[in-house]
């Protein structure tokens, strides 16, 4: 077990040390003190634990890592994640899992505004609430919200599907509530099992998906151009 401290090493030194670890290694990062860009751009199956609050883009661009943060994180946690798991035992600030292509981001508290913005195939599971404009222009992947969703949920949504266990304050343009199928219940059940957020009843979630009315620009729709 390797321990790295943000009070003794710069972020660049820590990321370099992570990159030099053998596959499957376990690393603990202590005293993160809100540092940005920890554990970014890694391509291996490292097991990383961060003890404390981290800053922006934790785990971003990585492929295959398994990160647990015992604390809260700043903007853009796991931005552009390719594969692997990033678990936050705390709250996530704005744009959690933005543009994630793959992997799973699990937040045990709340996620702030624009969670899952432009999601491209990854999975985001939030035990608590999400702020306004969750899943804005999200293209593929799945979002599960264990609490309530804010305004403009799924605005300009493409093919991402959102499940909300609590209330939806408002839907964004082209987002609509759809009937829950057995396939949906199966997806949610698996995410509940993976995250351990068993307050979520897979039969009792609301499915939000795209109405697909904004996919094509209709020049004749209004002759005022």
């Amino acid at each position: 077990m390797v321990t790295l401290s943000c009070t003794q090493s710069s972020v660049r030194e820590i990321n370099r040390a992570l990159r030099s670890q053998p596959p499957g290694a376990h690393v603990t990062i202590v005293e993160p003190r809100g540092a940005h860009n920890l554990a970014v751009g890694l391509r291996s199956d490292l097991h990383i634990t961060v003890e404390g609050n981290a800053g922006y883009y934790l785990g971003g661009l990585s492929e295959g890592i398994d990160v647990t943060v015992n604390g809260s994180v700043g903007w853009g946690v796991a931005e552009n994640l390719m594969a692997g798991v990033v678990r936050v035992n705390g709250n996530a600030s704005e744009a959690a899992a933005a543009s994630a292509h793959g992997g799973t981001v699990i937040v045990s508290g709340d996620a702030s505004l624009r969670a899952g913005i432009s999601l491209k195939g990854g999975t985001l599971v939030v035990a608590g609430d999400v702020g306004n404009v969750c899943a804005f222009m999200a293209q593929a992947g799945t979002i599960l919200v264990g609490g309530n969703a804010g305004e403009a949920l799924g605005d300009s949504l493409y093919e991402t599907v959102i499940y909300v266990h609590g209330t939806v304050r408002g839907l964004g343009a082209d987002a609509r509530i759809e009937e829950l199928t057995e396939a949906d219940v199966k997806v949610v059940s698996e995410l509940v099992e993976q995250s351990g957020f068993d307050h979520i009843d897979p039969q009792e979630v609301t499915r939000v998906a795209s109405a697909r009315q904004l996919y094509n620009f209709d020049a004749l729709k209004s002759q005022r151009y």
Partner: protein, 318 residues
């Protein structure tokens, strides 16, 4: 007031358009035993924000108030070797009477008569380039160009004592890198505003304020917000109401931190485009653009840490 050449001097600001980054920090102490350490606590917070604003910085501190009827003016001159003693002698012989001046080169604080318009007019008459960067019974303002660390050292911020402080590190996007354009903006007694973001309708609002007799000194967008808040406080609004008017009238991206002698308040735009983290403990309220600026504060691990939501006005009072 400022020469045309100053207004046009500019960093290549288009480069940063849409990427308006500045750093904001603030401390509002409720535990008097922390007051001797105000500057010591604030300095690492401000220097942590260098990455968000390397080109200029400013600090406002609230210290023990001068007696009622007197005001403390924070002054700055561009003249090398400015004769502060001559200024003191000049004012003593004027109807404004005796003043006490503490100077460190091109900056000084002057404690004198509590008639702010008369004092500011007298200062400008004595030396047209003498800038009043802030005034009040408790407020002291330091602002300068350079990195936050350089500015803190130049002005001895680390040893400043007081009960409240606000700091700003600026990466200019909207107007020139000069001391006049750097924050905080302190256009009324003990009022201070710092801003991260950019307003898109500041020219319209500046003209509207001019129609009400309120004139801005620079072409900076944040100054318009400061004078807007000052105007509405003057009209009888409380600080929360004045900030709700900002939400209604100002368009753009903003996180604002506004302080008065007794109050400390924050607000974020409807999309919360600019960050802000608040830490509350029994001893203080601390705010910063990014959490790492707060990470060294005493008791931060047990603080209530949160991010204000869009359009929420938070006000703390002493």
């Amino acid at each position: 007031m400022y020469p045309r050449s100053t207004r046009r001097a500019s960093v290549p600001r288009r480069k940063w358009e849409g990427f308006a980054v500045c750093g904001i920090v603030g401390l509002h102490l409720s535990d008097p035993s922390l007051e001797p350490d105000l500057g010591r606590l604030l300095t690492p917070m401000l220097t942590a924000m260098t990455s968000r604003g390397p080109d200029s910085a400013g600090v406002a501190v609230y210290t023990a108030p001068v007696p009622a009827g007197r005001l403390r003016f924070s002054l700055r001159t561009t003249q090398a070797g400015f004769d502060w003693t001559a200024l003191a002698v000049h004012l003593r012989e004027s109807p404004l009477g005796p003043v006490e001046i503490n100077d460190w080169g091109n900056c000084a604080t002057l404690v004198g008569a509590g008639d702010a318009p008369a004092m500011i007019a007298a200062l400008h008459a004595f030396a047209p380039d003498l800038a009043v960067v802030g005034y009040g019974r408790a407020l002291e303002v330091f602002k300068d160009v350079g990195t936050p660390a350089q500015i803190c050292e130049r002005h001895g911020i680390g040893s400043v004592q007081g009960y409240q402080a606000v700091g700003h590190t600026r990466m200019a996007t909207e107007s020139a890198v000069t001391t006049e354009h750097s924050h905080p903006f302190a256009p009324a007694a003990d009022l201070c505003l710092v801003h991260n973001g950019s307003f898109s309708n500041h020219a319209t609002l500046r003209r509207r304020l001019e129609d009400l007799g309120v004139r801005c000194e620079t072409d900076n967008d944040s100054e318009v917000a400061a004078r807007f808040v000052a105007h509405h406080l003057d009209q009888g609004d409380d600080l929360g109401d004045a900030l709700r008017r900002v939400l209604k009238d100002f368009d753009g991206f903003y996180t604002l931190l506004v302080s008065t002698r007794d109050e400390f308040a924050v607000v974020r735009d409807p999309f919360a485009c600019k960050p802000l983290v608040v830490a509350e403990t029994a001893g203080y309220v601390a705010v910063a653009s990014e959490y790492h600026a707060l990470a060294g504060l005493p008791g931060i691990d047990s603080a209530r840490v949160f991010e204000p939501m869009p359009e929420e006005v938070h006000v703390w009072s002493r």
